[in-house]
């Protein structure tokens, strides 16, 4: 089974802190994604990566950065957390060429106080 593992299920941080959200997949997928999910807004794409060291902005990249140094690992970084970044963050991966078939992690619920 494909497994996408997000390092932290629940985090509480203070405004201005730097936050790292880690995601690891074990199926050698080329594509990796970071979404945030908010009530009433659905899933919104923050960043995605189609290869090591490659990254592309999604729909809402402001306030976020990403790092992909190894194929299996995709990190989301909040340089200076703000209260409006309180959300559920979902990591996903897919095979190159796969159309729409994403495998998701269980999510990281971040609260910024």
């Amino acid at each position: 089974d494909v497994k996408v593992t997000q390092s932290s299920r629940y985090l509480v941080k203070r405004t201005g802190e730097k936050v790292f959200l880690e995601c690891v997949q074990d199926m050698d997928h080329e594509n990796m994604f970071w979404y945030r999910q908010d009530p009433g807004l659905g899933l919104r794409l923050i960043y995605f990566s189609y290869d090591v060291k490659m990254k592309e902005k999604g729909d809402i990249p402001e306030g976020y950065s990403v790092s992909r140094e190894k194929k299996e690992r995709f990190s989301l970084i909040l340089e200076s957390a703000s209260t409006n970044q309180t959300s559920m963050y979902l990591c996903a991966s897919s095979l190159q060429g796969a159309t729409g078939e994403l495998f998701f992690g269980e999510g990281s619920r971040l609260t910024v106080l």
């Binding site: 807004l41 659905g42 796969a98 159309t99 729409g100 994403l102 992690g105």
Partner: protein, 111 residues
Amino acid sequence: QKEVEQDPGPLSVPEGAIVSLNCTYSNSAFQYFMWYRQYSRKGPELLMYTYSSGNKEDGRFTAQVDKSSKYISLFIRDSQPSDSATYLCVPASGGSYIPTFGRGTSLIVHP
């Protein structure tokens, strides 16, 4: 107009009912149509995957796509409390590996 529209619900039905979940989209380039299911406090998981118009059945679940009217449906027969989840309508266009997520419909099946 949003690319994918879904009624957020919640849709509450008794156990055993036939459930119809619906979705409309605006982009005629969409050719692949997925339904994802998301349980509370979990990530979404792929439930059904169809290509172009037509029906696809998998157990109690049937996905139906009508490209002429840009309308997508998911039917659940003999619904169970374990079907209680949010169902996300997710179309995609050929050549793009980034699907477009609907906001989802919350389904509650009560015993």
